[in-house]
């Protein structure tokens, strides 16, 4: 099928196999390997990307579902050589160890802050409940979200 979509802010048109997993399309066809595969069945959140402003699992999505939509992957967050506030906050708060979960975690948080710039602790918890981290624990991640939310509102 002919797929029309926006990739990290750039319009794209491509001939694709609509039934291919979006995760494979992103990693193999687009060459964007920041999005990771953990479980492949919706449990770990490592494959999280943003479709039309919402966090979704790319492992549970077919590429055709992207048609007419707007896709953001972790690679799209850095703008003009500068990391996104969430990425900076993760570094500042040491919310990264092996890093495998981080792109999915950051995309979940990006979607949360777009909708809700000042989330409560409970809202943060709900937003990242589907992102499993085996290393860091969630305290640092939650601190990073509060840091990012504060930095974002200062920028405004």
């Amino acid at each position: 099928m002919e797929l029309h979509f926006t990739l990290n802010g750039r319009p794209e048109t491509m001939e694709v196999d609509g039934s291919k997993r979006l995760l494979d399309f992103i990693r193999d066809d687009l060459g964007l390997t920041g999005t990771k595969e953990g479980c492949g069945e919706g449990e770990c959140g490592a494959c999280t990307v943003m479709l039309n402003g919402e966090a979704i699992h790319s492992c549970l999505t077919m590429t055709g579902q992207l048609d007419g939509g707007e896709l953001w992957t972790i690679e799209g967050l850095e703008q003009n050589g500068e990391l996104d506030v969430i990425q900076k906050a993760f570094i500042k708060k040491s919310a990264v160890q092996c890093g495998f979960c981080v792109s999915g975690m950051v995309m979940s948080i990006k979607a949360l802050l777009l909708k809700n710039p000042h989330p409560t602790q409970e809202e943060v918890k709900m937003a990242i409940a589907g992102n499993i981290c085996r290393c860091t624990g969630y305290r640092e991640v939650k601190a990073a979200v509060q840091e990012a939310a504060a930095a974002q509102s200062e920028e405004e």
Binding site: D17, S19, E41, E43, G45, A55, T61, G68, M126, N131
Partner: protein, 291 residues
Amino acid sequence: MARTEYLQPGTLEDLKNLLPTLPTNTAVLAGGTDLMPQIRTRHPDYECILSLWNIPDLRVVEETTDGYLKIGAMVTHAAAADNHLIRRYFRGLYMACSHVGSQQVRNKGTLGGSLVNASPAGDIAPCIFLYHGQLEILSQDGSRRVDMDEFLFPDGKTCLQQGEILTAIYLPIDKELNSCFVKLGSRREVTIAQISLCAAWKNYSGKPEVLSAFVGAIDRRPCAFPNPGLLADLLTAEQAAQLLADQIRQIRLKRTRPPKLKLTEAEQLYKERAAKGVVYDVVELIGAAEL
């Protein structure tokens, strides 16, 4: 292997026109949160995928002139939890949708997908039974509406035939009706129900009268709670919990085939004990709604 054809109509009209042309080996794709894991484990060789993803009409929630709330089959759990009409008239459904899986699952999983997938642990079906909902089914021959009882059979199978599409859920609006939904599972935020309970009640001169209640995840399809009136009062909560534990035990003893939900002995016993937890949660919610 031949490439799987991917069809994604943009309107209901286009969908109707496609139905007679579909190969028998076609899979319907809604959000994909159940279908994709199934494809991954079973490797079925689908000739064609029919995606409902881009049909705006299937995502509408609206009041009908004859007193129903029509919820499009492609409304996601997140959209349902955010919808003011669902929140106002069907609080139990709103509560169920707000706690399906994780945010990613709620953003993609649909109410229609949940009903057609018909997992015994699904959170949506008990609510549709509770509200006496009807389902709209589209086939080559046109559209029809069936009661939930006719849609989901006691053996857990649905009445949908190959090439039929669930297009909407109709829930009768009763402005006096209040409702709630609770579940207990194995992980706090991302929880597939081990047991769920929803109840609907009305207030008569300041006192709640529980009209009906349904239990999910204890049998192949949701079961009516034997004596819903007991849920109205903390004084009868213990009796209600005992009744539910007995019901779970009877279902287990009556079973001749292995359960669709494969549970260990310990998990089964957990379920009987969890009955008490969901009963007390519901009784408390009904009590709190009074204040």
